[in-house]
């Protein structure tokens, strides 16, 4: 089965790890993975820090799928240290609110060296993924685009609106500054990275994991041509609600949703994505058991909807969420 996942960071990474566990369990003992999972990652959070290129979502995917993520934290490497960044602070450089672990820094340095040598981000990502044998685990990790696209947040400043890099808004200000809008700096020059459109065209199913619908999946869909390819694919497109019980499962997605005028409910997010048959990008939606009223409302509107426990507290739980999402695919194709 060929599966494409459009992913942000922690939520998408945990979902994809569950997906791989589920698919792998289907084909025990096979020498080559019987499935082919392509993850198209948001790169809108990428930033230059101390002269090195940091790609938060790609790194989280890399570490989570590679089995070396800091489990409790959800991002970064396990057994991490901060010797370099502690010393950097003594030079008065950079941002004291951004954690830069020593092991994580190694990834950024390798990436930066290759980028400087002229390797595109997609090739760089493939080299990083080779160390963690992502191919052997049946998954291919692609950036949404090779070109830099950086999400900025317009907020109210003392002297009128000002733009912050998304990471500054998200990590430093904990999304507490009310966002007026999100701007994808550089997106007009971006094209889907090599392999992205082909993967969407050849997919048996496309999954939208419970990533942030605005600044993760929304950013991926903002790359010119990518949304069109999603709309055009013959594969069913199934999404998992990132809103559970009227609140984001993780992070501060509610602040992002509010900025674009979308309520923080499982139903509102589904309507924001929209049904493909009505000009949107989704065919079916998986909501949490805490949101049965949302499921009922969506069903009344004709949506194919499944209800399940969607909290990915561990890998088996994430595998079950992925299994339900995959099970929705035939229903989605049938048109609900």
């Amino acid at each position: 089965m060929r599966v494409v996942v459009l992913s942000g960071g922690v939520g998408g990474a945990r979902f994809t790890r569950g997906l791989l566990a589920h698919l792998g369990a289907d084909a025990p003992g096979s020498r080559a993975p019987a499935h082919e999972v392509t993850v198209v990652a948001n790169t809108g959070d990428d930033l230059w820090l101390h002269g090195v290129r940091v790609c938060p979502d790609l790194d989280t995917l890399l570490y989570t799928l590679g089995g070396v993520v800091h489990e409790e934290q959800g991002w970064g490497r396990r057994e991490e240290s901060t010797r370099v960044s502690t010393d950097l602070a003594a030079y008065g450089v950079g941002w004291d609110w951004f954690t830069l672990g020593d092991l994580d820094l190694s990834t950024h340095l390798a990436r930066t060296q290759w980028l400087r040598e002229g390797v595109p981000l997609q090739g760089v990502t493939a080299r990083l993924a080779a160390r963690w044998d992502l191919a052997g685990r049946g998954v291919r990790l692609l950036p949404m685009a090779d070109e830099p696209v950086e999400t900025h947040v317009e907020v109210d400043g003392d002297e009128g609106p000002r733009l912050l890099h998304f990471e500054e808004w998200w990590v430093r200000h904990r999304a507490a500054l009310r966002p007026r809008r999100f701007v994808q700096v550089g997106v007009e020059d971006a094209v889907p990275a090599p392999g992205v459109l082909e993967a969407l065209a050849a997919a048996d199913v496309v999954l939208l994991p419970p990533s942030n619908p605005v600044v993760s999946v929304g950013t991926v869909l903002g790359v010119p041509g990518l949304r069109d390819a999603l709309v055009a694919t013959a594969a069913p497109v199934v999404g998992v609600s990132p809103v559970v019980g009227g609140a984001p499962v993780r992070g501060m997605a509610d602040a992002c949703l509010a900025a674009i005028g979308v309520e923080t409910t499982a139903a509102a997010v589904a309507r924001h994505y929209g049904r493909r048959s009505l000009g949107g990008v989704l065919d079916a939606w998986l909501v949490d058991g805490r949101d049965r009223p949302d499921a009922a409302a969506l069903r009344a509107e004709g949506w194919p909807v499944a209800v399940a426990d969607t909290l990915m507290v561990d890998v088996p739980a994430a595998a079950r969420v992925a299994a339900v999402a995959l099970a929705l695919a035939p229903l989605a194709l049938a048109g609900g």
Copy 2:
């Protein structure tokens, strides 16, 4: 007293530290340093490594003068670790022969960030020096030029001559590949960094420490205009022989000297620099007690020469070497 030192790495750094100790001892209890020492550092060994800018000689000077150098090693930070570079090796990136310590990396990252922001190398160096309070210690550290100049070494390859970066030749190959010549890549576009020519013009004395005369001091003198400024200064120019007992004190300077057809003797290096009155750059020369015959031969040629124990085994020893070099200055001015 205004002193200018044209320096390479370890030898120049230890000499300058001794010079500061000597000058400081002359003016105990003064609130501001009574002296003004400007070090013009070779940047020909600089390189990009993992996307960060490494300046070996500037760093050695920074750490030695700042009091944080790894004393036994002569370069790098004390209490260093290699967590990042060990992890980088697992990505198969870069050069396994180049040590990149975690604390050292912090310096490179700070430098790279500022360079990327458009700060010239001289300004970057001043910012790095501020952390270690070099100004408070009465010393100003300048790169020879803001523009990148990289020393490459032409050696014989299987398919004819090939160029290596100096650091690759020096550190990886331990200078074992016979050099045909040294090439200063980029030197034609370099100009002395702001402050260098002014310091030479205003100097009371200029010192050439026992640095490599070919790839350290020689590289500094290769910056267009710098040699002319040295020739033109009213200050005496006193050098300390890097050759003791017919061998380089440290490093593999003999390989460099051989490549340019200079014998590894204290007298031959002096003649290579040449006397200013005869078109060279030096006025006087300090040789080690093991090289009395060299001293005698140079004196017979009219050189002002002093003989002393020049091995800088500790700071007091380096201070004595600097004191003797300074004492040579009036003799040099008198024309020998």
